[in-house]
Amino acid sequence: MASNTTTTAPERTITKYGAYAKPSKGANGWETFSWYFFRISGVGLVFLALIHVFFVHISTDVSETVYGFVAARYANPFWRLYDLLLLTLALFHGLNGLRIACGDYIQSRGWRLTVSSALFFIAITFWLMGSLTIIMFQPNQTLAQSIMSFLGR
């Protein structure tokens, strides 16, 4: 156990089947949460992402997914909720994966913290961009106009 050293990466065991072993009891609670989050969000994403790709990007050709296509789809609040859930789970599942991958190659604790903080900043920025667009989109209004009319200006 390397739990008391501050200069080495958190100890991770790669199982014979090519996944990280569940952190041992008494390990950092955050890493245990992360381990479960990958699996729980993963189950959701298998359905959310594959259904999204099939119905939005394969059964409709990419050349047809123009502004009007999105506007028609977003007339139904269900698809906005669906996309919001997909965005949230995929972004945090993916960036948490990148955090783990980076941690494997960075020895210094300070640099790991720096990279994790940068990834957290990227997560929040992209989540705000995506969720604002999904929630606030109104046909034939720019995002700025939708936000201003929402604010009553």
């Binding site: 994403l45 972004l91 960036l95 990148l98 961009m129």
Partner: protein, 128 residues
């Protein structure tokens, strides 16, 4: 690490495909955000995705997504099903088989419009 065994390959493939899908996700969030700037800017920008070269890159994305999804199910099965460990290698081959099986028709659907065929019924003449 278990060099040359399926565990090593599934670990490496899971990592590479995951990073690839993440990179595309970030691009996809940016392109969707463009819709907030109006129809002209959005439609002009997403024409890029209809080009042949980006269609080929999308195929790599879909293959990555399929593998990552099915290998993820395999990992979860082994983690939570005590007997799953015994079938880890067999399941790895099933993951590869299902990925390839679903990928083949996808190639047709994504690439056909480049050759003027629209399996979905309608497609704009894609830019080259």
């Amino acid at each position: 690490m278990y060099r040359g065994q399926s565990g090593q390959w599934s670990w490496l493939l899971h990592r590479i495909t995951g990073l690839g899908v993440l990179l595309f996700l970030l691009v996809h969030i940016v392109d969707i955000t463009l819709i907030g700037f109006g129809p002209t800017i959005y439609n002009d920008a997403i024409v890029i995705f209809s080009t042949a070269i980006i269609r080929v890159i999308s195929l790599a994305l879909i293959a990555s997504l399929l593998f990552h999804a099915f290998n993820g199910i395999r990992i979860i099965l082994i983690d939570f099903w005590p007997a799953g460990y015994k079938y880890q290698q067999a399941m790895f081959y099933i993951v590869l088989a299902v990925t390839i099986l679903l990928f083949i028709p996808t190639v047709f659907y994504i690439m056909a419009p480049v050759f003027g065929v629209c399996p979905q019924g309608s497609c704009a003449n894609p830019a080259l």
